[in-house]
Symmetry: C2
Subunit: 289 residues, 2 copies
């Protein structure tokens, strides 16, 4: 079954009011005067990582991508639960886990270890605490807002290609992404909509546009890229960089460095425009699961 069809089935189930879009977004749970932000991500061997990757990097990325989801909500980590497939390199997994948990001060809460099936699978449920309420979402962008990006895209793409082609070039941007927790917390009071770019700038921008009932026009030349100019279009459709993409009122004073890469317009047949034109449908906007 396609993912979108499965999500449509889930939408018919008993849903908690804190559930957001059931797939990419965090649940926002009010508990005893506090607001928790909860997210779950899974990485599967052969799908999200190469079988010969160092499991220390897999552990780092598993936690870092979940932390990036919190960053986009302006939340601070409380603790994490793991689901772990036992394998032969569990000491490497534990080493990478130790590094990322210490770096981001995210303690381990618990979890589950299982004897592996035919493909190793690692999951994490991360619980965070909102630092700003209302917790920012994807759905608040208004026509007239500016569209901003915290840093360049494309570095993870080059890292993946280096790894796949065994060139020996630096792959750290793909292997060990850096969640922008401090930036997300600083931005939360200032943005109208925000998310982390995990699946591709154009795809994720179209998600904000759809959720907000607006269109987003990206000025391609203004998008900061970490790749040669010839790869600009690829870099805008590749994910895994975990920059924060957000909208804010025109002229807003922002507490972190960010580049304006476009503007929010009224709803349009195409939620995303590239230099004023709907992207042709032949190239995917990003990575769809």
């Amino acid at each position: 079954m396609r993912e979108s069809d499965f999500i449509a089935l889930l939408q018919k189930l008993p849903l908690h009011p804190a559930a957001r879009n059931l797939q990419d977004d965090c649940a926002i749970l009010e508990v005893g005067g506090e607001t928790l932000v909860i997210t779950h991500d899974t990485m599967v061997e052969g799908v999200h990582f190469l079988p010969d990757q160092d499991l220390a990097d897999v552990a780092w990325k598993l936690v870092a991508t979940n932390l990036s989801d919190l960053a986009a909500k302006g939340a601070a980590p409380v603790g994490i639960l793991l689901s772990h497939s036992l394998s032969t390199a569990d000491d490497r997994f534990a080493a990478g886990l130790s590094e990322v948990l210490e770096t981001y001060r995210c303690p381990l809460l618990g979890g589950d270890t299982v004897s592996g099936g035919a493909s190793r699978t690692y999951g994490a449920t991360l619980i965070g605490r909102a630092t700003h309420c209302p917790v920012p979402s994807r759905s608040g962008a208004n026509a007239g807002d500016g569209v901003y990006l915290t840093g360049p895209v494309g570095a993870a793409m080059l890292g993946f290609e280096a790894l796949r082609n065994k060139t020996g070039a630096d792959a750290s941007a793909f292997l060990r992404p850096l969640p922008l927790l401090a930036e997300g917390q600083a931005l939360a009071p200032h943005v109208t909509a925000i998310m982390d770019v995990s699946d591709g700038l154009l795809l994720d921008a179209s998600r904000i546009a759809k959720a907000s009932g607006v269109s987003i026009d990206i000025d391609a030349a203004r998008v900061p890229i970490a790749v040669p100019e010839s790869r600009r279009d690829d870099a805008m459709r590749w994910g895994d960089d975990y920059q924060l993409l957000f909208t804010a009122p025109a002229g807003a004073k922002l507490p972190v460095a960010a580049t304006q890469i476009g503007t929010v317009g009224p709803a349009n047949d195409s939620p995303i425009l590239l230099d004023g034109v709907a992207p042709d449908g032949n190239s995917p906007l990003g990575y769809s699961h």
Copy 2:
């Protein structure tokens, strides 16, 4: 790596004070004025379920086993996050999920769907709210307490054998276990230690004994079983029945029906005794992951 070696590595990581034993037990998290009980379980194709099982049953069991963890803490479900491998029978998974979520009034909070690897993997993180504080644990059993079981063991074993041998006999006890949420909430104020029997009565009793620093002597003839007498020993070493196993002061008035199956004694070289004798080491006490 063996699970116990991996858990030993995890013990050296930054741990949240709410973390319990990092594997089988729930995390107990104080948030605002509330106490949350959080658990995660994973089911892997070929390890926890047979490849030809109806995914509706797999979804039921995934949620039910997590609910059973809450039952043993006297907690009530708040909501659940899923990790789902897309496959060809996702409609059956959604159907079983709908049934179990409605039956136990446990709404969906969110989660993650992934393209499948070579083996389908389903995970769930369940968040509950404690109904009694302190939340009961495995570690409070005292010498002199009675040891109790809420109902018979062995039905899931027969169900699994019926399924494996394709006899057509009723396998529902294995396929669709019933978490004892109401019983757990009623018992929580009365017990000194409690857990659900997921991996085998003798193994799980030994876990309570170790965590409490005591020994537990099981009177084999008093253990209620759902199998022929010839299978009594097997039934005490097979898991998946999800009865509640608990200790309470001798003579305690209990709010739910339960059978006394043994007594708590002082610490001993063997944490578990069967009719006063340490079980021989040749048969496993239960299912070790």
